[in-house]
């Protein structure tokens, strides 16, 4: 029997959702200040309106939903989903007001893409949008990478009880770096801001060396860092990172997005002296193996297509795209349509495979995640060993993720469920693309890219794509980032409001 939520349950959800929306409003201060610094008055007004809308909704919800009820798991998951949805609706307001998108759906598409660190975009005339608007794109992707709940936990939730862990885990992060979840959220920011300082400096110096003016070099350095570390894939120019035509810039980007794709708990272990964790961790091992596999498939595809007769561009283009796809970053150094017209289906299949697997759990990356692929592989091996061993033999598997663990049936069950959900979503998104009239390979590439929060595109994603397909991609990006559970909890909640007793 499904219980109908009480008024107090709704108030708890409203109260915390209001706090998180307030956090999203505070994020708008950054693009607002940028717009003011560069005297972009129209953009400043757009963000002023957006900020007022967020504050209105945030404070309004908090005022209307005063309660003493404790935050529970079922509330936490619904709050996470509702907050991401509200953040998308409200965050789209400045985009819409800027006039650079053809409608509110396109604006929401870009905000969901930014928050979920996907990197696909529908904004038009990207090369000429204001600095303030560009700053908003990158703030969204950087904040989304750490998680908007993590931001709220860091700044807005002081002294709350144990139920707060359900907010944190609902955002697809399960590993705690420290016993206290608020401290964990702060540590995630320590890691991210540490890398931000270093990565931005390196990219700014590189941009200066390329001949950019200091202010422009700094903004490009900052934005590309935010796009790379959050494995987001947004870039300030429509040609993405190909625009820089610089090997140094590309190598720096790879280092940053590989770092961004690491589990925050692994970062923390390495930063506190346990450097061996990088070598021992099941996710980093799995990443190395699958990266090699997909690099091989892509290289065979490219060699057969004969696109790059010289070795250097062959290596440079192929490994950049494979690593970018595997970390679910979505930075590219080839034209979108070149993937279809020059790279061909086999090379594209290599990239699709990399995007499907994705990188580490509890990182900024998307996809099925290395730890799940490892657990499924170990389960298969365990089953084969069991089949070949005497009936009385006790077979068990172990893996290392921050500590040595024994593979348990409950873990396998949850891993299988999420993996099946991901694969089904990839199939359905591809089907939606085909039904919209696109070729299978194009539909699979861009569909998987959206659902795995990668952002590489072979040209299907554009402002002219059907509205229904845009909506499906928005849903896929949201489901992929939340890893299903929180979104299903929101749908279940709505269902229980209607049908509960």
């Amino acid at each position: 029997m499904m219980l109908r939520p009480t008024a107090d349950d709704h108030r708890v959800i409203g109260l915390y959702t209001g706090k998180i929306v307030l956090g999203v409003g505070l994020l708008m201060v950054l693009p607002l200040v940028t717009a003011l610094v560069f005297a972009e008055w129209d953009t400043a007004i757009d963000f002023g309106i957006g900020l007022l809308a967020c504050f209105g909704v945030g404070f309004g919800l908090q005022a209307a939903c005063v309660t003493t009820q404790e935050l529970r798991r079922r509330h936490g998951l619904v709050i996470v989903s509702a907050s991401w949805l509200l953040a998308t609706v409200l965050g789209a307001l400045p985009f819409y007001l800027s006039g650079h998108v053809s409608g509110y759906l396109d604006a929401m598409f870009d905000v969901m893409s930014g928050l979920t660190t996907t990197g696909l975009y529908l904004v038009q005339d990207l090369d000429h949008i204001s600095n303030g608007m560009n700053m908003w794109r990158f703030v969204l992707t950087f904040a989304g990478g750490q998680g908007i709940i993590v931001i709220a936990l860091t700044a807005l939730f002081k002294g709350v009880g144990g139920g707060i862990y359900h907010l944190y885990s609902g955002e697809g992060k399960e590993d705690r770096l420290l016993p206290n979840v608020v401290q964990t959220a702060r540590m995630i920011w320590v890691v991210s801001l540490g890398w931000l300082a270093l990565g931005t400096t390196a990219l700014t110096v590189s941009a200066l060396a390329l001949g950019q003016a200091p202010a422009r070099a700094f903004l490009h350095g900052l934005w590309v860092f935010m796009g790379a570390f959050s494995t987001g894939g947004f870039a300030p120019q429509s040609f993405n990172t190909m625009w820089y035509h610089s090997l140094v810039f590309e190598v720096l980007c790879i280092i940053i997005f590989v770092a961004g794709s690491l589990n925050f708990a692994v970062h923390w272990a390495v930063w506190t002296g346990d450097r061996g964790e990088l070598r021992r961790n099941v996710e980093t091992r799995s990443f190395a193996v699958t990266l090699g596999l997909f690099a091989l498939v892509t290289a065979i595809g490219l060699a057969r297509a004969g696109v790059y007769p010289d070795a250097l561009p062959f290596i440079r283009k192929s490994f950049y795209l494979v690593i970018s796809g595997h970390t679910t970053t979505g930075f590219g150094t080839v034209y979108s349509r070149a993937l279809v017209t020059q790279w061909g289906p086999l090379a594209m299949l290599g990239i699709i495979g990399a995007m499907v697997v994705g990188a580490s759990s509890c990182s900024t990356a998307g996809g099925i995640k290395g730890i799940r692929v490892s657990i499924i592989t170990k389960t298969f091996i365990e089953e084969i060993r069991r089949t070949l061993s005497p009936e009385s033999a006790v077979i068990s598997s172990r893996y290392h993720h921050l500590k040595d663990r024994t593979l348990r049936d409950t873990t396998v069950r949850s891993v299988m469920l999420i993996t099946i959900a991901f694969l089904t979503m990839h199939a359905l998104v591809t089907l939606a693309g085909v039904l919209s009239g696109y070729p299978l390979v194009d539909a699979a590439f861009d569909g998987v890219s959206a659902a795995s929060n990668t952002g590489l595109s072979c040209g299907l994603v554009s402002p002219t794509m059907p509205g229904a397909l845009k909506s499906i991609y928005v849903l896929a990006m949201w489901l992929g980032r939340m890893e299903f559970v929180a979104v299903f909890a929101l749908f279940g909640w709505l269902w229980s409001v209607v049908k509960g007793q």
Binding site: L198, W271, G292, A299, A303
Partner: protein, 52 residues
């Protein structure tokens, strides 16, 4: 006087330790990324040499 300077020194040592730990962590992660890049490039070169 000493009671004032010792905590200050401890704070500096603590900060220095943190910076050192951060630097070695970033270096280790950069090394990991470079090793991945190297292995990936090696696989691609071998494929290229083998003629696809």
């Amino acid at each position: 006087m000493e009671s004032l300077t010792v905590p200050g020194r401890r704070r500096n040592e603590h900060l220095l330790k943190r910076i050192r730990s951060f630097a070695s962590g970033v270096l280790a992660e950069t090394g990991f990324a470079l090793v991945l890049m190297g292995s990936c490039a090696a696989i691609i070169i071998l494929t290229l040499l083998a003629g696809g």
